[in-house]
């Protein structure tokens, strides 16, 4: 009986000390994000180019836990649906630039808003048929802004996120589009 009381007392003491382990905080500093998603054009351009797969890369640095800056690179591929001919032809849209992101964290979940500007390059003049590009024109300034949500994984270096950005490309007849992506983030 005496032995039982001693063991029970020891277990009670251990149970009292073992509270739930706190999640490790997310890393901050230099980070890289790679994402896959889709780009769809809006309004007039949506008739001339189909939704296409997209690849995104963002590299940057957290200045504070709530503010980061980075450079982004994105490439998407689209089937042109201009009046024939041609038919079944594809073009690629490349976008690159700098951006800033404001983040609010709630334990493992973070929501953010981001915006930036950069350069857009189109791979061919196929949209010239519908006057989106002018002769000899393949580059334009581009603006983008959007928001997303991020989930911090158990490992403090990794997070996954879902983001959507709207962009406008003024020199390409001000075409607008939506870039949505699922991404993985690694913070060094």
């Amino acid at each position: 009986m005496h032995r039982f009381v001693v063991i029970a007392g020891a277990l009670a003491v251990l149970a009292a000390r073992s509270d739930t382990a706190r999640a490790r905080p997310a890393s901050t500093g230099w980070f890289a994000e790679g994402g896959l998603g889709a780009v769809a054009f809006l309004s007039k351009a949506s008739k001339d180019a189909k939704l296409g797969p997209a690849f995104n890369l963002r590299v940057g640095r957290d200045l504070f836990s709530w503010l980061s800056v980075g450079v982004t690179l994105a490439a998407s591929s689209h089937e042109a649906t201009v009046p024939p001919p041609p038919e079944g032809e594809w073009f690629q849209l490349y976008r690159g630039g700098a951006d800033a992101r404001l983040t609010g964290s709630f334990q493992r979940i973070a929501v953010f808003a981001e915006g930036g500007l950069g350069l857009a390059v189109i791979s061919s003049n196929i949209l010239g048929k519908v006057m989106i590009t002018d002769p000899g024109e393949s580059r334009s300034i581009a603006f983008q802004a959007g928001a997303g949500v991020e989930y911090q994984l158990e490992n403090r270096h990794y997070a996954v996120g879902l983001a959507g950005d709207g962009f406008v490309i003024p020199q390409f007849d001000a075409i607008r589009g939506i870039d949505s992506r699922l991404y993985l983030r690694y913070t060094y």
Partner: protein, 281 residues
Amino acid sequence: MRALSSVSIALTGLAGLVGCANDPVYIPAPDTMEAGVVDMTGARNEAKASLTLPIKLESGDDRRARDALAATLDPVLVPYVKVGDIEVEIEWTITNLDDNDGQAKIELNGANEYFSYDPSILVLDPNDDEAPPTPGLAGDVPIDVAAGRRVSGLFTEDQLREASIDLDQITRGNINPFRATLTISKNAASFQPVTAPMPDVADYEQTPVGPEVPREAFAEMTRIDLVFKADRHMVLAYDVRVRDLRGILHELLLTAVTEKPDELTMFMPMEYNPAPATPAL
């Protein structure tokens, strides 16, 4: 440091993607072609159109490289635009405007910087009234187009490469157009020029003349000629898709013809007609 490496890799990758020389450009035809309209004589009209590719002036370096190659191949002429410098494709759409089903044909011809080829002016056998007409370089096959409907198709890069070599064989090489167009030459390493044909001379045999023309001296087609025939009222729209592997197309494309004509090379090809035939009396 690792982050900087990532940035470098990403920028290098994007530069590679953006700088791809295989990206095509599209040159829309200035006008559509309308055929199959009955004229006052009761015949249906054919439509003909030409599109000259906007080739930039030859740079000094290109000229020197060409002269060096020409010196090694002398007396074979080396063209500025060679087979393999550009890859051309023609995409077309035929619309039948009639209430009845019909058939159309598109015949591809053209010109390189030396010669143009128009089979309608070549009579290969003037003594035979039933001889088949001289063939075009490609196409000329019947295409069914339902009433009020649209049909699209293309002349592929392979067909255009074959047509370019056939054109060079026929014009510089004096090779019979039937032989040139019915044999596959797109991978040919060279061709042997022969003496000019003499349609009026019975049993005349062409014989080899001069050195072989090697592939590095094959001339690429720089002008696209199309003949559109239809047995109903139809319209043909087309554009020319070019992959500029050597960077010799003007970036303004056809706009350069009006805005920067002094930056374009103006080729003056001779019409190929080695022995104008006179019908037998």
